[in-house]
């Protein structure tokens, strides 16, 4: 399966996490993405506990991170010391041994694209207010767009390990629209998810040295097909 490659994103990843910590009454934040190989999965963590909570869930294969990933909805744990947490008993035990007393996980999604999650913890218990919930949702959305944008802007040169600084950023909303349409077409052609479809699109652009926008346009105009097993 194709994978996210956010190795170039990590460079200023720290800023991504501190935005959450600055704007919200939380102690720490960690952003991680789906589908990446283990070293690339963590985009940023504002402190070592935030990083550890993400890592623990990754290692255990359970935790609110995975629940949010599966449902596409936030998982709010205003008090880690209270409640049974049947979906993640092992992580719950580990969590209680830390100073995190509240944990809020927001999925990073764009349409049907599941990019990753942001995990916010606080050393005191308590609910997020409606306004904080909105702020977190907005920041999660912004983060998802940023990550996708960076992903889409990496052109063939990025394969060699560097972002092409000279190419103008591909910010045309029209191209995005076609990219989303192409994503929908490819997910049917390759019988896969929206996220994998976008990765296939990107992988093709890389291998042919084309822009994502050109490949998307080829797909939408039916000059290119990703059908996996032709008759």
């Amino acid at each position: 399966m194709a994978q996210w490659d956010f190795s170039a994103v990590g460079r200023d990843g720290k800023g991504l996490c501190s935005e959450f910590v600055d704007a919200l009454p939380v102690t720490g934040a960690a952003v991680s993405v789906f589908g990446a190989s283990v070293p690339e999965t963590a985009i940023c963590a504002s402190d070592s506990l935030a990083a550890r909570l993400d890592e623990l869930q990754f290692d255990l294969g359970e935790g609110p991170r995975w629940v949010a990933a599966k449902s596409g909805a936030p998982v709010l744990v205003p008090d880690t010391r209270q409640g049974a947490f049947e979906l993640w008993p092992v992580f719950a035990t580990e969590l209680r041994a830390t100073t995190a007393q509240a944990l809020f996980v927001f999925p990073l999604t764009i349409g049907a694209l599941a990019v990753g999650v942001v995990e916010l913890y606080r050393s005191t218990p308590g609910e997020l207010t409606a306004n904080d919930h909105s702020i977190a949702t907005v920041l999660a959305n912004k983060t998802a767009w940023n990550l996708i944008d960076q992903l889409l802007r990496m052109n063939a040169a990025a394969q060699a390990g560097a972002l092409d600084e000279h190419s103008p950023p591909d910010t045309s909303p029209l191209s995005r629209r076609e990219i989303h349409q192409a994503t929908g077409m490819i997910l049917v052609q390759a019988n896969t998810t929206a996220t994998n479809a976008l990765l296939l699109l990107r992988a093709h652009a890389f291998s042919k040295g084309q822009t994502l926008r050109d490949v998307a346009s080829d797909v939408v105009s039916r000059r290119l097909d990703f059908t996996s097993h032709p008759e």
């Binding site: 999604t109 959305n141 767009w145 909303p173 994503t183 929908g184 490819i186």
Partner: protein, 237 residues
Amino acid sequence: MEAVTRASLVSASFVRLADALVGDYDVVDLMHSLVEESIRLLDASAAGLLLADLNGELQVLASTSEESHLVEVLQQRAGAGPCVDAYISGTVVTISDIATDGGHYPVFQAAALSQGFLSVHAIPMRLRPRTIGALNLFRTTVGELTEEDAAIGQALADVATIGILHERAVRESAIVNEQLQRALNSRVLIEQAKGVIAQSSSVDMNEAFNRLRSHARAHHEPLHLTAENVINRVLAL
């Protein structure tokens, strides 16, 4: 006589829109109804509604045609078209004769003329100090909108603003941002679903959108939910 007909047309349109604003409505669906009403009422041949994303870039939320050439005419970068200028300035931007007066927007001018659009009227969608987007009306005749038409256009833009930002949301800027993003995300979902339908049913994007919308209407479900079901392959259209 004509005035009576006009007034009743206008009020019927607004009643339909007000009716759609009640309860659990789908934002993109409502905005499609709104752009459709706006060309009917204002003698325009195409209309599009754009919303600013988090980077201040305008995205098409709804347009009277799903064809990419209309989207292209609508979507120009800062300083490059009347739609984006209406959004940035917060004031109405009118070009009553694109062929002679549109020269300072060369890319827009060429794109608009190639579609047969001779005049454009871009109305900002205002929310007190800020502007969240713009409603754009394209006509195949030259000339300004009448004062009455301009007022109706502004009223339509205001209804759009209200429809996107639920009344309760307006008090908190975080919630405003959340509503704007929800609307734009819903649009992404619809584009993805259009792709699924276009591929699995061998139809073009316009037809894919029509099928999506007809199904949502017939089953009284929000458009974004229909789109989600299509993408998850629970529903084939």
